[in-house]
Every structure is written in structure tokens, then in C-alpha cells.
């Protein structure tokens, strides 16, 4: 009386076994976790799967995204994943979309078709979006992420658990503009500066990424600063044209460029004496002295160790500076501008050389190209084993969600075993409760936005606040009480408002905005507060979802979650906000996940 062999685990309850072949599952993301989840679903008897991913396959994916091979490089992840899974089991109905989940084709009705949605994403914006879609469609969501040896799996269901946005995540680390331009103290500051320099020379014009000394640095104020300001006023006038125009006029002469950025600008910084009263002053470096300093390094020849792992000599830096500029110049010839890409060798070489020269000038430790790539490209390390563990947990929770055993769908953290801890996987004791003041899943979502209403333009409000910070896709905005349509998701309908300031639209301190994102089925009330930053470390605007939450996290020494997401703004040089790169399987970066950041004393022991 042996039952017919099947992939469905016999150990599961009969009701779950019955549900598995008929339940429709959406997997969002076919990266490291996505590939593993698809395999686990297929090998557990699921027969109705849809997979969506907008990405294509890269060589550096192949160490863990095992549904792909070398010959697939450049092809759609979703499509190839589907083909490989069908190779495992022809009886599966699997539909693949090479597309972004945030587009309007995947609305609430799309999501409603699924029994469970499994997130296997690499960025917060898409995670926030799917979170909202699942809340709107009332579909259970299993959220997961990994970063190196750590990872986590979390179950989210409307009205039952916290949502992905109940606890605001730590904002991406940013640096004040004057730290980048005047007073760097860490390698990352010089790397950010070098990326800005790349953009100034070859990229799209962005005034927020200026690389020259910042005379408006409040710290430099005082007599010396003013003096310096006066001294160079004339030369400044001459140099009003953009760095790019100037560079083009020298036809990207490496020596001239080098001397301007590493000798003249540094001399100018030195004249802002106040900056160097309590800091080591920078030492200008000229092209000729750099080019003659070979250190004790030998020539390197396609040797991974030397070329990538060792810190370059100054001579090597000047050589690379020169050769990368000439390649980038050539590349620029047929384009309007270049976009920095860590995988484009001349771009990475240029940044490595410039960052290291600047680091040396400021007595900061220099870095190998390998290290620069990590920092500049914001690369999150990723391995097959952690992805395998996390995706195994995802599918085990999926079984429980199908059986509606929600109270057993507890968050699990994968950690690295350490000498202090015997834990490899830690399970929470209870479902995470929803934050009653969550600006996404509470009954009447509300958020306070502090902003300079006199200077912010409507179009920047839409792009910076509504889209970038609050993750909306197509918002409509009405000024409450007056019924004025400020922003419309219909193209062009409110174009006339774009360049008006908020004040000009009647949006002043105390104003209430009703914002509605049709796609996300998400309505948000925004209370506007007029705010002007005072100190240079102050953010340009603040978004505060929950006053209580922030107060808690500020006093808590353990600081489990970062309270408010006081966002950075344009002239804050963000390391990677605009960075495409792959935060691979990038985790939600909760502090809990990073054992290096935390004490183990918040661990819950279960027996």
C-alpha cells in the first residue's frame, strides 16, 4: 500500500500535503536566495510558481546562484531560473517575468492571486513596495535576507504581525559635504570624493557632488577662513565654469588635472587655517613628485595578489590615473556622460588611484583596489551556505503559512557561531507585534515631515521625500482643507507646479497633505513642519514616523532598531544611495543581524 512517490514531504500534516501542489506562490527575486527558494519549492512538490526579477546574470553571481552557468551570463535571471527548474521537474507550472515588481502591471489584483509571496530581494525600496502590495492585497508575505554569514526570515501578515516598515531601518550612512571636500579622516571619505571627482569630470553635472574646497564650511569661518575667501575670490571668478568644461579644455591632461586636485586645491585648503588647528594638515602632492615615487614595489603582471590586493605605489597611482583618464576620455567621446560603475575597470582604477593619492595627502590609510571596490560599490558579501539555510527556513515557514499556523511562523535569525555564542539559528518567541503608529500598516498612516518649505520645490518634494524616502511609486498629493492638487500621478497634469516652492503652493508650517499612491493602495497623511538646518551635521530634512519609537531607541543603549529615518539630503554625500550595485541578497540590515555590531545579550535562549 505504498503511496505513489511524490516530492511532497510525507512528514507534513495531510492538509498541508494537499495544499502544496495547488497553492500559487510568487517568488520576488531570482538571486542567491531566489534560486535556492525555487529549488526548495520544486523539490517540495509545489507546482504553481511565478518568479519575477529584472536583473541579468553576472559572473560574480555564479558562486551561489546555482541555477545559472557561465553561458547564461547576460541573460534574464527569471527566464534562466525557470528553464533550469523545469529541467529538475517538468511537471511544474512556472511562469517567469523579466521585469521590475514595482511597475504598474503588478497591481493589487496581481498579488491577490497568490497564496503566499516570498521576497528574495536585494534592496529596501523593492522590499518596502512588496510589503505595501501584500498589505493591500492581504496576502501573507515571507521576507528574507542574507549578508555574509548572517541572515533572517520573517513572516508578515496584515493585522497579525508587524509589517516590514513598522520599525524604520537605519538610514544609509552619509557624510557631510565638508567632510568629503575639506576634512576627510577615513578612507571612505576619500573614496566618496574620488567617485564625485569621476562624476565631475566624466559624469552628469551634479552640483551636490562638488569636489573643490568648500569655503562655506562653518568650521573654517573666523578670520582665516574669511581671509582665504577674499584671497582667492578672483581666481574663483575665473573658474566659474564647470570642472568638466575646464578638464575638456585641457583635453584631460593628466598632469594638469593631478596638480589641480592634489596640489593647488590642497594648498587652498591649507589657507583655511581654522580647519587645521586641531587636525593634521594635509600635504599637497605634485605630479612630478608622485610620479617619481615607486615605493619598493615590483611590476605586477596579471597577478591577482599584486594588482588587486596590494596598495599601489604613488608612481603606480599616477600611471593608472593617466591611463584610466585616457580610456575614460575615449569612452566619453561617443556619449554625453559616463555613469560610474564598479565593474568598469577604468572607472574603478580612476577612483582607486585618486582615493589613494588623497588618502596619502590627508595621512589616511590607503586601500587596495579590491578594498576600494567593496567600499565604492557597496558590495555585500554573499555565500551559498547562508542562502541555503535561509531559503530552507523560508520554505518551512511557507508550509506553516499554508496551514494557517500563523502563530508558529516565528522570525528566525541565522548567525555566525562565535566563541561567545553557541547559536547558529535563533528563533523569536513571539510574532512581532505591529507598531500602532506605523506610517504604512496602521489604520490611519501619518508621518511628520520637517522641511524647509521656503526653498524646497514641489518636484524635489516628490522625488526626494515621496519617492526616495517614503518609497511611493506614483503619488497624488492634495493640500488638505483647500483641495489644491499639488502633485498628480497623471503625467503633465500638475507640471506647472514643479518649480514652485512649497510655500508658493500654500504648503507652510502646519499644513496637512493627503497623499495617495494608487498602485500601492496606500494613503498617507503628511504633517508639514517648517525647518531650517542649523548645524552642518543636521540633515536637510527629517521624516518622523513615530515620536515614541524614536525616543525609545535613543535611550536604549542596545539600540535594536534605528528609530526615526531622518533622511539625508542632497548635499550630504551619500556613499551609495544612487548606487545600483547589487546589495546582492542584501539583508534588511537590521542591527540584530550583524553580530559585529551587537552584544549577544539580547539573545533569547530556547530549550
Amino acid at each position: 500500500m505504498m503511496a505513489k512517490a511524490s516530492a511532497v514531504p510525507i512528514v507534513l500534516k495531510a492538509e498541508i500535503q494537499k495544499l502544496i501542489p495547488t497553492s500559487k506562490i510568487l517568488v520576488v527575486g531570482a538571486g542567491g536566495i531566489g534560486c535556492e527558494i525555487l529549488k526548495n519549492l520544486a523539490m517540495s512538490g509545489f507546482k504553481d510558481i511565478e518568479i519575477i526579477d529584472l536583473d541579468t546574470i553576472d559572473v560574480s553571481n555564479l558562486n551561489r546562484q546555482f541555477l545559472f552557468r557561465k553561458e547564461h551570463v547576460g541573460k534574464s535571471k527569471a527566464m534562466v531560473a525557470r528553464e533550469t527548474i523545469l529541467n529538475y521537474n517538468k511537471d511544474i507550472n512556472i511562469k517567469a517575468y523579466h521585469d521590475s515588481i514595482t511597475t504598474s502591471e503588478y497591481g493589487v489584483n496581481f498579488f491577490k492571486r497568490f497564496a503566499v509571496v516570498l521576497n528574495a530581494l536585494d534592496n529596501r525600496a523593492a522590499r518596502n513596495h512588496v510589503n505595501r502590495m501584500c498589505l493591500a492585497a492581504d496576502v501573507p508575505l515571507i521576507e528574507s535576507g542574507t549578508s555574509g554569514y548572517t541572515g533572517q526570515v520573517e513572516f508578515i501578515k496584515k493585522g497579525l504581525t508587524q509589517c516590514y516598515e513598522c520599525n524604520p531601518k537605519a538610514a544609509q550612512k552619509t557624510f557631510p559635504g565638508c567632510t568629503i571636500r575639506n576634512t576627510p579622516s577615513e578612507p571612505v571619505h576619500c573614496i566618496v570624493w574620488a567617485k564625485h571627482l569621476f562624476n565631475q569630470l566624466f559624469g552628469e553635472d551634479d552640483p551636490d557632488q562638488d569636489v573643490s574646497p568648500d569655503t562655506a564650511d562653518p568650521e573654517a569661518a573666523g578670520d582665516a577662513g574669511v581671509e582665504a575667501l577674499a584671497q582667492v575670490d578672483e581666481s574663483k571668478k575665473v573658474e566659474r565654469k564647470s570642472t568638466k568644461t575646464w578638464a575638456q579644455e585641457t583635453s584631460y591632461n593628466p598632469e594638469k588635472l593631478f596638480n589641480k586636485f592634489f596640489e593647488d586645491d590642497i594648498k587652498y585648503l591649507l589657507s583655511m587655517e581654522n580647519l587645521w588647528k586641531n587636525r593634521k594638515a594635509p600635504i599637497p602632492l605634485s605630479w612630478s613628485s608622485a610620479a617619481s615615487d615607486d615605493g619598493d614595489q615590483e611590476k605586477s603582471k596579471n597577478d591577482v595578489h599584486k594588482e588587486d590586493m596590494e596598495v599601489w605605489s604613488f608612481k603606480k597611482c599616477t600611471e593608472v590615473f593617466s591611463s584610466s583618464i585616457s580610456m575614460l576620455k575615449e569612452e566619453l567621446a561617443n556619449k554625453n556622460f559616463l555613469v560610474w560603475d564598479k565593474d568598469f575597470k577604468p572607472a574603478l582604477d580612476f577612483v582607486t588611484a585618486c582615493a589613494n593619492v588623497r588618502s596619502h595627502i590627508f595621512s589616511i590609510a590607503r586601500k587596495s583596489r579590491f578594498e576600494v571596490k567593496s567600499i565604492a560599490g557597496n558590495i555585500i558579501p554573499a555565500i551559498a551556505t547562508t542562502n541555503a539555510m535561509v531559503s530552507g527556513l523560508v520554505v518551512l515557514l511557507t508550509f506553516r503559512v499554508l496551514a494557517e499556523e500563523y502563530e508558529k511562523c516565528l522570525t528566525v535569525y541565522v548567525r555566525q557561531k562565535s566563541s561567545e555564542s553557541n547559536t547558529v539559528m535563533m528563533t523569536e518567541k513571539f510574532l512581532g507585534a505591529a507598531n500602532p503608529k506605523c506610517y504604512v500598516c496602521s489604520k490611519q498612516p501619518m508621518v511628520d515631515v520637517s522641511i524647509n518649505t521656503k526653498s524646497m520645490l514641489v518636484k524635489d518634494f516628490e522625488s526626494e521625500i515621496l519617492k526616495k524616502s517614503l518609497n511611493m511609486v506614483a503619488p497624488d498629493v492634495v493640500l488638505d482643507g483647500k483641495g489644491v492638487v499639488v502633485i498628480s500621478s497623471e503625467e503633465g497634469e500638475t507640471a506647472a507646479n514643479d518649480n514652485k516652492t512649497l510655500t508658493e503652493m500654500g504648503i507652510v508650517d502646519g499644513a496637512i497633505l493627503k497623499v495617495d499612491d494608487f498602485l500601492q493602495n496606500y494613503e498617507l497623511t503628511i504633517c508639514i513642519h517648517h525647518y531650517v538646518p542649523k548645524e552642518k551635521e543636521d540633515p536637510l530634512y527629517k521624516i518622523l514616523a513615530d515620536m515614541d519609537l524614536q525616543a525609545k531607541s535613543e535611550e536604549g543603549a542596545n539600540g535594536k532598531e534605528n528609530g526615526a529615518s531622518s533622511a539625508s539630503a542632497a548635499d550630504f554625500a551619500a556613499v551609495n544611495v544612487d548606487d545600483d550595485e547589487d546589495p546582492q541578497e542584501g539583508s534588511s540590515k537590521r542591527r540584530k543581524m550583524n553580530p559585529k555590531e551587537e552584544d549577544d545579550d539580547d539573545m533569547i535562549m530556547l530549550d
Binding site: P9, V11, Y88, V395, K417, M426
Partner: protein, 333 residues
């Protein structure tokens, strides 16, 4: 693959893991020769993870023939594999996971292998062994200083135990320097904190696996142990006694048998029987691929630690809680 240094192409392929464990670890992996004993559901997961990370060679030892049920639990097989030797049947899909690794299928029985066979490997990973096999192979490995790890999946439950003998390792620890400093004048000044990475070395001793899986001859009372350790022992005893694993087809008899074995074990270790939830026996049937994915991930990661000498390995037992899916180390001495 004779050259010890990574090529540029390899550096590109393994980039995301080199950024985690460093190029030295990657070069040690590149030189490692791994033996995998038995490639069923759990074995296929271990093979995947260990092939992807970029070892030098993998020998797959399994004398079984592919059954109809097996193809549903092992993604390296296909319906055409039924009836063929399993080590040979997985070759094609296994090789596709990483063309750079030399894979050798071996269809002989593990019982026919002698000490010299095991001695050539860097690490031996095994699944589905009985106690006698474990103790014999682990002895060969100990004599030849070959790292050994063995594990199983039983339904929602899984475990592994390892003998890395005397294991030297290092960790990169982040140290925060700075904070507050008291000057000679007694004044406290704030110093900007800096993160520095320090290499911390360690050494640990593993006990002989006879101390881990062999039942004591007389009752003893060890320090409190994870209750699933006794579940592991019961399942191994069952396997030794019946030369098979518990089956759904004979669930009633098998559970009865398991309960009896478990009672004896708890008596031997003087554990309060109330601590052991007998419902767990409902959860130990068959291989469950997502559980294999978890336990395989843990075992492969331990094998990687064994080879690279980087990070603190599990010493010596890993136990997966079949109810709440937490997983922890149990140090059995």
C-alpha cells in the same frame, strides 16, 4: 589547478565570497580534496554548497542505485537516473554547478574502503552512516589528520557531529578603539572611536566521536544537554539495530521501537523523561528538502571552516530544533 594562486577569472567568479573570508581562505579551498560519502537529499545539498565554493576535487562515494522516490529528494538526479548508480547519476548536474572542480564518482561500498583511501582527503563529509561506520571512518581520519564531519536529516530534524581533531583557526575581530580617555591630569577627553580589524588565533580540541555517539556502558550524568542530542542518539541506535531508517509505512511499530530506545537512553544518561516530548517522533520521517538545505548549509560551512581555518567551527554537535527551527551547537565531551 596545480597552481596555488587564483587566476583573474577565479577571482571574478568567487569575488563575493573572497570579500567575506579572504583570499587566503579561497586558496586553501582551492587546494582542498573533499570526500562526500552518500549523496541522497542531504548529500546533494552538501555537494552543491561545497562545489560552488571552489574546492580542488570532490569524490562522491555511493554504491546505491537510484530509486523512484530518490529523484524527488535529490535535485542532481532526473527521472532517467532511476536504476543507475547514484554517484554516477549525479555527475552531470553536479559538474554543471562548477566546471572548475574535478569530480570523481565512486560506486564502491564505503565498507570496502581502507585507511589509505581516506588519508588522501583534506576533509571527509558523510551522511547516512551507522555508528560502526562512523567510528571506523573517524578513526582512519583521526590517524591521518583528516577533518571529519557527519550528519543526517530525519524529517524536520537534522544534526551533524564533527571531529576536527586539534583544530587551529583564526577570526577577524573588529575592535573599537577610542571612546573616553583619561589624561594625566585626570581630565576625560573623548577620542573618536575607530574600528580596526584584528586577527585573533585560537585552537580547539575535538573529542573522539566514540564519546559523542557511543552509548556509555554504565549510567552516567553529564552536564545538561540539548534534549535533541538524545533524539539523535535514538535515531542512530534505531539505524544500527534495524539497518534502515524509520519509515512512514511502518510508522506505528517504528515509533514504538524509537520510544523504547529513547527510554533506555534517557535512563542511561539520567535525564528526566518529561523533558522529552514524544510528539517529536511524528516529525522524523523521510527526507525534507528544505531541511536538507539548512543542515547541508551548516555542514558545508563547517567543512569550509575546517579547510580554511577561518572562523570558529561548531565543536562538535549541531542540532536543529524540529519544532521551532532554531539551531545550536552542543559541546559533547
Amino acid at each position: 589547478m596545480s597552481e596555488s594562486k587564483l587566476s583573474t577569472a577565479e577571482a571574478e567568479l568567487y569575488d563575493r565570497q573572497i570579500r567575506l573570508w579572504g583570499i587566503e581562505s579561497q586558496e586553501k579551498l582551492r587546494a582542498a580534496n573533499v570526500l562526500l560519502i552518500k549523496i541522497r537529499g542531504l548529500g546533494s545539498e552538501i555537494a552543491k554548497d561545497i562545489l560552488l565554493c571552489g574546492i580542488n576535487s570532490l569524490t562522491i562515494l555511493d554504491d546505491a542505485l537510484v530509486t523512484e522516490e530518490e529523484i524527488f529528494k535529490n535535485f542532481l538526479l532526473s527521472p532517467e537516473s532511476v536504476g543507475k548508480n547514484i554517484a554516477e547519476a549525479v555527475l552531470e548536474k553536479a559538474q554543471a554547478l562548477n566546471p572548475l572542480v574535478k569530480i570523481t564518482p565512486d560506486s564502491e561500498s564505503v565498507d570496502k574502503k581502507n585507511a589509505e583511501f581516506f588519508a588522501i582527503f583534506t576533509v571527509v563529509i558523510a551522511t547516512g552512516l551507522n555508528s560502526v561506520q562512523v567510528l571506523e571512518i573517524s578513526k582512519y581520519c583521526r590517524d591521518a589528520k583528516v577533518k571529519f564531519i557527519c550528519g543526517d536529516n530525519f524529517g524536520m530534524f537534522g544534526y551533524s557531529f564533527a571531529d576536527f581533531q586539534t583544530h587551529e583557526f583564526f577570526e577577524d575581530k573588529v575592535q573599537l578603539t577610542g571612546g573616553q580617555k583619561r589624561g594625566i591630569d585626570g581630565r576625560i577627553t573623548k577620542v573618536k572611536s575607530e574600528r580596526t580589524v584584528v586577527k585573533v588565533c585560537g585552537k580547539m580540541e575535538y573529542v573522539d566521536l566514540s564519546k559523542v555517539i557511543k552509548l556509555p556502558e554504565a549510567p552516567m550524568k553529564p552536564k545538561r544537554r540539548n534534549i535533541y542530542y538524545y533524539l539523535m542518539l535514538a535515531l542512530l541506535q534505531f539505524r544500527d539495530k534495524f539497518n534502515r531508517d524509520p519509515m512512514m509505512e511502518s510508522k506505528e511499530e517504528d515509533v514504538k521501537e524509537l520510544k523504547a530506545i529513547k527510554d533506555d537512553i534517557l535512563k542511561l544518561y539520567q535525564v528526566n523523561p518529561d523533558k522529552f516530548k514524544e510528539e517529536v517522533f511524528d516529525l522524523i520521517f523521510g527526507e525534507v528538502v528544505p531541511v536538507c538545505s539548512i543542515v547541508g548549509g551548516v555542514m558545508a560551512q563547517e567543512a569550509i571552516k575546517a579547510v580554511s581555518g577561518k572562523e570558529v567551527p561548531i565543536n562538535n554537535v549541531f542540532l536543529l530544533d524540529p519544532f521551532n527551527y532554531s539551531g545550536r551547537e552542543e559541546n559533547v565531551v
